[in-house]
Amino acid sequence: MVKMAVYSTDAIVIRSREYGESDRLITLFSREKGKIEAIAKGARKPRSTQRGGTQLFTYADFLLYRGKNLDTVSQAQPKESFIHLWNDFDRTIAASGMVELLDTAAPKEQPEPELFTLTLSFLFLLRHVDPYIAQAAFALRLMHSAGYLPALDECGDCGKSLRGEQAFISAEAGGLVCATCKNNRAVKALNPGSVALMHQLYKADLGMLDRLRWNKKVREEILGGLCFFCEHRLEKRLHAWRQGSEFI
């Protein structure tokens, strides 16, 4: 029998599904290896020691066996369960939207230590920051760092400054474009106020995010625009983002 390689890493559970009789199929975003798919056998049994560590959003220390397609969880020791994400449905939706986007955008088994720290910070931030502000800020930073959303303050085509201007978000254009450049591309319009706030959501220190405010119109424009952009750019339907729009 081949000796299986064992490795350890701290990771965030970004997806957790019931599998078979009592297993869980989980997607981890780990500090060491980036995105990992793993199976936690028996994790739904009441006496399983992997129960807590394999819950969605949980940050835990993992010991994993390397597998051909799927790694196997050997130990999962929770470090933070983020209880605040469970007992408020807006927070559940926002955190779901964040990890769903991360799962879609992050390539498999490619270490992204900065993105890891960013994700962990935002899960903590959801304790006191408006959940949808946090979701939008996270999406902007994630898409930018993954190279999907290059420019936020100028038109991606002609380079004109978008400060105080109406702008258009478009996956075809690869970001924001001005009114002259939008042409016949599929776009969502953003009013000057939304463009300015989007810039702050992206640039502001994490400690300042709780000071940002928006009204319903700006919120809908930004979240709607980002959902439209990310779905087209990543070519995947974002369920949690669409769920969110039913509530807010």
Binding site: E21, R44, P46, S48, L56, E100, R242, Q243, E246
Partner: protein
């Protein structure tokens, strides 16, 4: 598994088995060959599936699986009609009934809120609860202690608050991440006693 070497109807059977939860391609093949060699068992199985699909429906009141509508619990004598217990799945009703501790009514959601899987309130048997609240004094939210279960419980309790009911949640005994279905009867009974107000 290479289905091309099998006759079409056999590979269809194997594929049908492999779609069942917890059944991999190898097990699916083994089950299919077993049934071909034991035609008596195969006929019984086919008949049982056909009858179950024909006779079992969801109770129009509580959503539990039943042969008669409303189900025995909803129409039954001797049930405490001031208590309503909300569960995820029909199998959770069985787990709670086995304890013999609970005498109230049930409401089966057929799932929990799971934004990432696209399951919102509309996808669940959730809004009919609000047509059942007359005479109810306490709602026990007995969903599994998972993230999705917790989120569902909190969502539900927020909507139930304006009705001035006591809303409780199963408490200690059920560890986070465990399935009600796998908990033993003593554990469930203890969780029922220790339920806490949401």
């Amino acid at each position: 598994m290479d289905y091309l070497h099998y006759p079409r109807s056999l590979s269809d059977l194997i594929i049908a088995f492999s779609r069942l939860p917890g059944v991999g391609p190898k097990t699916a093949g083994r089950l299919a060959f077993f049934l071909l060699q034991h035609s008596g068992e195969a006929e019984d199985l086919a008949e049982a599936i056909r009858i179950a699909l024909r006779d079992i429906r969801q109770c129009s009141v509580c959503g539990n699986y039943t042969e008669e509508d409303p189900c025995k619990i909803c129409s039954g004598q001797g049930r405490d009609k001031t208590m309503l217990c909300v569960v995820e799945q029909p199998r959770d009703v069985v787990a709670l009934e086995k304890t013999g501790e609970y005498k109230g009514l049930y409401h089966v959601l057929h799932g929990v809120l799971s934004p990432m899987e696209g399951i919102g309130p509309e996808q669940l048997n959730l809004s009919p609860i609000f047509q059942r609240l007359e005479g109810i004094k306490e709602v026990v939210v007995a969903v599994n202690p998972t993230v999705e279960g917790e989120a569902t419980a909190h969502y539900l309790s927020k909507l139930l608050k304006p009705f001035g009911l006591k809303v409780t949640r199963l408490a200690h005994g059920l560890p986070v991440g465990g399935d009600l279905e796998y908990a033993d009867e003593v554990t469930i009974a203890r969780a029922l006693e220790g339920r806490r107000v949401l």
